[in-house]
């Protein structure tokens, strides 16, 4: 159940379902609440899929605007969140099919830190491990990468992931397994 105060302005207390109903009828205030509620997770998803912040921002922006236009047709057989994940994921997959990003995010923290000579070696090592993971993630096949990002970075259930990527749960589990295995191997070779 959603909690509600008594001021008329706090649409923020409403659940997605109610907001979607209003937004689908053209209530842009309701849609604005949905945008602010979900954009951070969607941007993180796109960012880890595309490896590049401005590409990710563009993907999320376009996905949300197209969602606004398509909301009147939204039937509600998925949640708004799953539906949005799906739109963003498709955009990212299409984008990554087209080109390789010009400024990869991993370039930020390449294992330069991992000489491990000084005292804060631990932090440096952890940063380097994260950079190695980002690099390994970049090399994953997009279909595996989506599943891994949705599961490990976004915390979606297998069922939700299956809905987002339009595959059955067994396929999702298989992709996750192979993604994990590849990431572990790549990280091991880095160490």
């Amino acid at each position: 159940m959603q909690r509600i105060g008594d001021t008329a302005d706090d649409l923020g207390a409403l659940d997605d379902g109610l907001l979607v109903t209003r937004a689908a009828e053209g209530d842009d205030d309701a849609f604005a609440v949905l945008v602010h509620r979900h954009s951070s997770a969607l941007l993180a998803l796109a960012y880890h899929m595309l490896d590049n912040l401005s590409d990710a921002e563009e993907a999320v922006q376009e996905a949300l605007i197209s969602a606004w236009r398509r909301l009147p047709e939204f039937r509600g057989d998925a949640t708004f969140r799953t539906w949005m994940y799906r739109i963003v994921t498709n955009r990212c997959l299409n984008a990554s099919r087209g080109h390789t990003p010009s400024v990869p995010l991993g370039a930020v923290a390449e294992p330069a830190a991992h000489d491990g000579s000084g005292e804060p070696a631990r932090a440096a090592e952890s940063a380097a491990a994260t950079a190695a993971l980002a690099q390994a993630l970049r090399n994953l096949r997009p279909a595996q990468r989506v599943c891994w990002v949705l599961r490990e970075l976004q915390g979606l259930s297998y069922e939700e992931i299956a809905q987002v990527v339009g595959e059955n749960q067994q396929t999702v589990r298989g992709r996750l397994f192979r993604a994990r295995r590849t990431l572990m191997e790549e990280m091991a070779s880095w160490r």
């Binding site: 159940m1 959603q2 909690r3 509600i4 105060g5 008594d6 001021t7 008329a8 649409l11 207390a13 409403l14 379902g17 109610l18 109903t21 209003r22 009828e25 053209g26 209530d27 842009d28 205030d29 604005a32 945008v35 602010h36 954009s39 951070s40 969607l42 941007l43 993180a44 960012y47 880890h48 912040l53 990710a56 921002e57 999320v60 922006q61 949300l64 605007i65 606004w68 236009r69 952890s126 491990a129 994260t130 190695a132 993971l133 980002a134 993630l137 490990e152 970075l153 067994q170 589990r173 298989g174 397994f177 192979r178 994990r180 990431l183 572990m184 191997e185 990280m187 091991a188 160490r191």
Partner: protein, 221 residues
């Protein structure tokens, strides 16, 4: 049965059936270790176990090998999970674009003597929803408008979510008054009927709402 039953499920394993299902349809790329366990199971168990250590896994070299690197991956994953770029700019851009993209819907006649003025349905719905929202403990969901055969009067169909801290009939009456008032006085719409349906329950926000007096809203009375 050997302790290293390839099924890899001990009796105390809660999601035994689901595990068996997974094993039956083995994941593509999964591998059975020489000790009989599937790599995917070893990982799942290591993650799920936590407090309940698995005696086999603790002693088995193959399992331990399969687990090497899992902790490193999990640690790095946690850090990566924290990398969340701010979405503020994107959200603002989207909201601006959406607000600029006017969706008018049908045009409805206003109740003016010359019958020349019309108003966009979405604008009407917005005002009427707001009127309902101002009634304490009520939020409007859908607000649909239909033009009567006369083409001069409008029927309002609204669905509502409400708290249950007051009886519904008087509250619905209050919504009806507020909506009728807004339609007539704020918009100048001729209304032939208002259908209200309560479709969802809201929980009062006890912490603040009970501490503050209900806001005075001058509308609808």
């Amino acid at each position: 049965m050997a302790i290293d039953d390839p099924r890899g499920t001990s009796p105390c394993d809660e999601p035994a059936t689901s595990r068996r299902d997974i094993d039956a349809a083995r994941l593509v790329g999964d591998e059975r270790l020489p000790c009989g366990r599937l790599v995917s199971h070893v990982w799942d168990r290591a993650r799920a176990a936590g407090d309940q250590a698995d005696p086999h896994q603790a002693d088995c070299t193959f399992c331990r090998q399969a687990l090497e690197g899992l902790t490193a991956l999990d640690n790095a994953t946690r850090t990566l999970r924290g990398e969340r770029p701010s979405a503020h700019t994107v959200a603002e851009r989207v909201v601006r674009a959406v607000r600029a993209e006017v969706r008018l819907g049908r045009m409805l006649p206003l109740d003016d003597p010359a019958r020349e003025l019309r108003i966009a349905q979405t604008a009407v719905a917005k005002v009427l929803r707001r009127a309902a929202d101002r009634v304490p403990g009520v939020r409007a969901a859908s607000c649909r408008l239909s033009l009567d055969q006369s083409n001069t009067e409008v029927t309002i169909a609204m669905t509502l979510a409400t708290t249950l801290d007051q009886p519904l009939p008087p509250r619905a009456a209050e919504v009806r008054r507020a909506v009728a008032y807004a339609a007539r006085e704020e918009l100048g719409l001729a209304v032939s009927g208002i259908d209200l349906k309560i479709v969802s329950v809201l929980e009062p926000l006890k912490s603040t709402a009970s501490a503050e007096p209900a806001p005075q809203n001058g509308r609808g009375r």
